[in-house]
């Protein structure tokens, strides 16, 4: 690709960062010819990306017209689909939350039913904030399973019957749709909201299963097939008798995930079915549940200790259902990482519970949509269309 210095995207970046508020600013900052500036700005205005107002300060003579992002013409949506919930956040182009809602929705009812619900909620939220449907420029969706990111199709998701290979973006005709694994959008939401200055961050979700979202050099690392971060099936030592649904044994998820802990508790005579049940038992002061959560923390810490040596992150964030008892989980995780990782990699490492909380996935999905929309390639495509 030939680089295009001084493209419409460059001009938009200067305007949105507040570095340029007039056409004269743009000419000075870019060195572009006045005719080129006019061409770029006019195209951005025509596409509804920028507006030009007469509100500049008068310094004698005609006041210069002011350029700014045309915020009101835009809306973006972040959608967090879980096994049994659907959260929709409506956001403006700068990432601010406009409105949101959450409903119980069973993902196993299949894509048509679930996406119809999303669509209807989008209309309701747009109505609440008084923006027309055409203002909605892009939607980000996080789903609880693997996704082929380039096409937005779920890839053999174990807890999403009916969704395999379903072309999610095609459901929303005429709007850009980005679909990603839930832990990836959680990592993005957590990074942008709580750790924007951090280059390398891991977001570990400990729920029914265990997964990890990776931020490398400020960007999501999805890997070659988009499967990066699937740490639930890394082998832990001393558990060769624990079979996993993947067909192997001693997988981290099979010994330290919420489902595995619930099963162990049931065997011990304490009926539990999910990570939420485990959390309830720990919060109720049950010592068996507490012991198992600490032990799970140590096993998760064993895997993370290796990843700390390999990846050398600045921050590890622990989220997911079990992070509601994070003091017990983190005790085990920290203990093992500090014992097993190299001192150089741990002496400035921060290991912390999620700060963004239940919003992380929806906000992260919305940011995925906004960042895609504002990417130079997309802006130049829109302007040259």
């Amino acid at each position: 690709m030939t680089p295009q210095p001084g493209s419409a995207a460059d001009v938009l970046t200067l305007i949105s960062a507040g570095s340029a508020t007039t056409r004269s600013d743009l000419a000075r900052l870019t060195g572009l010819a006045r005719s080129t500036i006019s061409q770029r700005v006019d195209a951005l205005i025509e596409r509804g990306l920028v507006e030009e107002t007469e509100s500049g300060e008068s310094t004698g003579g005609r006041p210069p017209r002011q350029l700014r992002l045309h915020t009101e013409q835009h809306a973006f949506a972040g959608v967090d689909l879980g096994a049994t919930h659907c959260r929709v956040a409506l956001m403006d182009i700068s990432g601010g939350l406009l409105a949101e809602c959450e409903d119980p929705v069973v993902i196993g009812e299949g894509p048509e039913k679930v996406l119809a619900h999303v669509d209807q909620r989008l209309d309701r939220l747009l109505g609440e904030v008084g923006r027309p449907r055409r203002a909605l420029r892009a939607i980000g969706i996080g789903v609880p399973g693997p996704v082929e990111f380039a096409t937005g199709r779920p890839n053999n998701p174990p807890i999403m019957p009916g969704w395999n290979d379903y072309p999610v973006p095609e459901y929303f005709d005429g709007i850009e749709v980005l679909v990603d694994n839930d832990v990836n959008v959680m990592a993005l939401g957590e990074h942008r909201n709580a750790f924007p200055g951090t280059n390398h961050l891991l977001f570990v979700k400990v729920g029914t299963g265990i997964g990890c979202g990776i931020v490398a050099d400020g960007k999501l690392h999805r890997g070659a097939q988009g499967s990066a971060g699937d740490i639930g099936h890394i082998r832990v030592s001393g558990h060769d008798d624990a079979g996993c649904r993947c067909g192997n044994s001693a997988c981290l998820e099979a010994v330290a995930g919420g489902a595995a802990i619930a099963r162990r508790l049931t065997e011990l005579g304490l009926p539990a079915e999910s990570g939420a049940d485990v959390v309830a038992l720990v919060q109720g002061g049950d010592t068996q549940a507490l012991r198992l959560v600490r032990e799970a923390g140590r096993l998760i810490g064993e895997v993370l200790a290796g990843l700390v040596n390999f990846f050398n992150p600045e921050v590890i964030v622990i989220g997911g259902a079990l992070s509601r008892v994070h003091e017990h989980l983190l005790a085990g995780i920290r203990e093992t990482i500090y014992r097993r990782s190299l001192p150089l990699a741990t002496h400035q490492l921060s290991i912390t519970p999620s700060r963004t909380g239940i919003n992380a996935a929806a906000l992260g999905a919305g940011l995925l949509a906004i960042e895609h929309y504002l990417s130079p390639d997309n802006i130049n495509r829109i302007v040259n269309a």
Copy 2:
């Protein structure tokens, strides 16, 4: 930072890619004002980065002057320092090899002696190709130990006595010097030469110890403290009795590194001291040595299987002294990765011996220097100085 579209670096990129060969091309491709183009091009010529010749084709009238990279005014060096060797490669600005040499040099003799040798070899190679010392713009150096990349100071390197915290760049007054861990520059050299189209690559060096260079999204991933890729101290299962020099036990390096295999062979009555001795025994057909190398491959594969799940690379390259018997090492590595990693992450994964061979580190170090020199920030700094 305010973006600077149309900077001198943008202009240089268009010239070096061959997209622009005249000032008119630059005006057309960038939309920059003619006066800005002149300013940028004149600055690049003045700094010796670009030359302008009269050799354009005549199409009637005065032929347009042609712009191109001023190759002859530049030279770059890549230096590969090993425990007992020093390899120096002289390269042109496009990464082409101009001249090289290798000598036995003991790194334990300390920085002054070793760097004096490097300096003298640089003068000799520059003389061979007829370029003056001032043509040498940047030097990349790979060393067998951890380095604080930002300052170029080795950080407690175990096999480099006298080098701890030594400010290597200051030795070469007036020249930009970049110092990095040897496995990082090997990964860069292998990526740029053999897998330029690959986004995510791991280069695993199996020598006396075991380390890994990481290419993520086409760039070296060094991590928060520059210690990323230190996989030699990740725990492997079933070897809790194997103590490691780091103070822990069951580290990968302590059971599968060249030194560990040599020690095991010695215990079995086959005197061996280094990875090279192990290779000699395997090549001589010794079945004990062969068995231990295969077993080392399986243990390395166990660690890599977890990293494949986590990082989802496209290519894993196996280099280092033991890769000279790669057919035996790779058998064990492949066997374990394909059994333990997720199918989605392995079905397009390539696991291959190094193609760049003994040159990888010196070439990679040279490329590190060239890429730094041509980075937009550095070019704009040079031009605005």
